[in-house]
């Protein structure tokens, strides 16, 4: 096999992986800090794409859409946490899971009713839709390069926020010992509220960023949610570095499988998940006992 093909394949794998990372980040943050498995994540991702489509239709600006999508979905997330999730704290972990699962069905059906079931066109902004020439025979879309860099920046910002700011410190402390944090006079409800909002905003951001690559339609989040869970399970439920490493790993594995045996490309990520769960039941970076 030609070396240039393999290099090119790694490139596509990386861009695919970055999309996985972006999709899994919000899910992972919400689970890691709130122990809520957000099944509405896929539908929030879909709403992010739809907000993007309509912002671009009305204003013509992709960059404005890039702000509006996470903002809109983030605010929706705040409402969901305040009025739907919060009353369920203190109950079994399955309650919020079932609630968000139902919420997802409602969100998809509402979208179908208002916007129909067909696809909505969405293109990358002109400046990013030029294919870049690589090694003479190949092209690589500028948009995917942007996606790789942008996702990297998002990861860095999140890391900085959680590890280097006071608010981040409170959030981390809250996951270890919320009672103690409360005793220090901090309102944990507001912290969880905020975290759920951030996680939702990340879903919206993933939606708008995926829209120029994938088709935009009401069920677009359903298949994505499955991939997303695979990434978080492999990385370790709730682990941020886990989501990043697992996302990139899956992108590369799936891309290289395509090169060797394309029919397996869909299944291979589940094989990886099975192997990881056998060797490390709590995932690559998972903390043991988070669910016990």
């Amino acid at each position: 096999m030609d070396l240039s093909v393999i290099v090119m394949q790694l490139f596509t794998g990386l861009s695919l992986g970055m999309l996985y990372v972006l999709l899994a980040l919000g899910l992972s943050i919400i689970f890691g800090l709130l122990t809520v498995v957000n099944f509405a994540h896929g539908a929030m991702y879909m709403w992010g794409a739809f907000i993007g489509v309509f912002t671009v239709t009305w204003t013509g600006s992709f960059w404005l859409a890039l702000i509006m999508a996470p903002l809109g979905v983030g605010m929706y997330g705040l409402i969901v946490e305040r009025w739907l999730i919060r009353p369920l704290y203190g109950r079994d972990i399955n309650y919020p899971l079932l609630l968000t699962f139902g919420l997802q069905l409602i969100m998809i059906e509402v979208t179908r009713i208002f916007f129909g079931t067909s696809d909505h066109p969405f293109n990358a902004p002109d400046i990013l839709s030029m294919p870049l020439e690589v090694m003479g025979i190949f092209y690589f879309p500028a948009y995917r390069v942007f996606l790789i860099i942008f996702t990297g920046v998002i990861c860095a910002v999140l890391w900085y926020f959680l590890e280097r700011t006071n608010l981040g410190l409170v959030i981390r402390a809250g996951t270890r010992d919320p009672l103690m944090v409360r005793a220090l006079g901090i309102d944990m409800n507001r912290i969880w509220w905020l975290v759920f909002g951030i996680g939702s905003a990340l879903a919206g951001l993933a939606g708008i960023l995926a829209a120029p690559i994938r088709s935009v339609y009401p069920e677009m989040g359903v298949a994505m949610l499955v991939e997303c869970f695979v990434v978080t399970v492999i990385g370790g439920m709730g682990s941020l570095p886990g989501a990043i490493v697992a996302g990139i790993l899956l992108g590369l594995v799936s891309s290289l499988t395509t090169l060797i045996y394309p029919q397996m490309a869909d299944i291979v990520i589940f094989l990886v998940m099975a192997v990881v769960l056998l060797v490390r039941p709590s995932g690559l970076f998972g903390k043991a006992g988070l669910l016990e």
């Binding site: 294919p131 025979i137 092209y139």
Partner: protein, 425 residues
């Protein structure tokens, strides 16, 4: 839920957590709920119509539904079938053959349909056809499949209004062979429809001395095609055939464009869909060419009348798959009316050898296998001057004199003899 707050509740074991998550994820993967009309009692003649309303072909299936409904409404406005009103009963197959089979059985046994149409995707059609043959109910198939008119699946009850992959590829392959380079690469949807398109194109290309420089198969419902592209680009083809359908076509064209593939090769969609073109936008499909059975801008009275009626009702023009459903249902219901009673043999005699033009130009029912003969149009994507005007018809490949069809012998039938296989006494 924050773990510390669990307090009184019992802890959740990892196993039970994964069990619940797994069940929920499975349910999510199966798609949302769908509400379909339930049947009412007796009087009206029920026409069953299983369609993949959810899944990667959902957009096209909705157009099929609208096309079938339009035909039913027009027939009802003229007095119905044998004096009875016709009622279309739609069911969701979710694009799964076993679901299609169950829904067809339910339509026949519980709802009591007396005629059947519908389906998109060969596996679904064959499953429904099987149920119809068992129950002795005429079935009008309205999407592309080769096997359905072959020995083994074809029967006196089975009718195929749509083109099949063979007709499509003989027309498109021949046209591409004449007009473009000789190095062909195939990106094939990995199931019967995709395989048949690729096989057919290879066969059509032989006459033009084409070189098969590679094939990549992708699973049905792939959302990211980027990892398929390096190998294709490295093979340096002149022409890349996208032998897929629905959202797969939309995504593969959109992503191939972003990867600059069009600078190096011509993209051809053997079944070029207006629905996918509208969903992907002008830029993604710019310069893409392909084949179709119908385009709403066809300048003939029947096509214009169909387009106007469909547009008035649905607020948009019909796509080719709406045409199949419309034309097929008109034939089926009209055939029963001419036959004078609802039975397979009189219906067969009313349709076989019939020349007709419902919406797209001349068609003909070949008696030996119940396949409809028709023309194939070659389209090129263009920037719309008005909404929905997304293609230009650049050529017409005539289907006259069985030019695009397999011979009766090739499909396992007898030339000149009408199809009578499976007739129930």
């Amino acid at each position: 839920m924050p773990k510390h707050q669990k307090g009184k509740g019992k802890g959740v074991s990892r196993r039970s957590f994964f069990k619940t998550t797994g069940v929920a994820a499975g349910a999510a993967a199966l798609g949302g709920f769908h509400f379909t009309r339930t049947a009412q009692a007796s009087k009206p003649l029920k026409l069953g119509c299983p369609l993949p309303l959810t899944g990667p072909y959902g957009t096209e299936a909705l157009d099929q539904k609208a096309g079938a409904q339009l035909a039913v409404d027009q027939i009802n406005a003229k007095g119905g079938v044998l004096g009875r009103k016709v009622e279309l009963v739609v069911r969701d197959t979710k694009l799964k053959a076993d679901e299609a089979s169950r829904r067809a059985k339910e339509l026949i046994e519980s709802v009591g349909v007396e005629l059947m149409t519908g389906c998109l995707s060969a596996s679904n059609q064959l499953a429904v056809n099987e149920q119809c043959k068992l129950a002795g109910i005429p079935y009008m198939s309205i999407s592309q499949a080769n096997e359905i008119t072959e020995r083994g699946d074809a029967s006196v009850y089975t009718w195929h209004e749509a083109l099949n992959p063979h007709q499509t590829t003989q027309a498109v392959g021949g046209w591409v062979g004449k007009n473009f380079g000789k190095r062909w690469y195939f990106l094939t949807s990995d199931y019967a429809f995709g395989w048949q398109l690729t096989d057919g194109l290879r066969r059509a290309g032989k006459a033009y001395g084409i070189m098969d420089v590679g094939e990549t198969k992708h699973p049905l419902g792939t959302s990211d095609f980027s990892s398929y592209f390096p190998r294709i680009m490295a093979a340096k083809p002149d022409v890349l055939f996208l032998d897929n359908f629905g959202k797969d076509q939309l995504n593969s064209v959109k992503q191939a464009t972003s990867f600059g593939m069009k600078k190096k090769m011509q993209l051809i969609c053997p079944v070029l869909l207006a629905s996918a073109r509208l969903g992907a936008g002008t830029k993604a499909y710019e310069g893409v060419k392909g084949g179709t059975s119908f385009y709403w801008q066809q300048d003939i009275p029947t096509a214009q009348a169909f387009t106007k009626a469909f547009w008035d009702k649905n607020g948009r023009p019909p796509i080719d798959y709406a045409g199949y459903a419309y034309g097929g249902v008109l034939e089926l219901l009209g055939g029963v009316n001419r036959a004078g009673k609802l039975a397979a043999l009189p219906l067969a005699k009313a349709l076989e050898g019939r020349k007709y033009d419902n919406y797209k130009g001349p068609q003909w029912w070949r008696p030996c296998d119940h396949q409809s003969q028709q023309d194939v149009f070659i389209l090129e994507s263009k920037p719309p001057k008005k909404k929905y005007d997304v293609f230009k018809i650049i050529d017409t490949v005539s289907g006259a004199n069985e030019a695009l069809m397999r011979t009766c012998v090739e499909v396992g039938a007898v030339k000149g003899k009408p199809m009578r296989v499976g007739l129930k006494k």
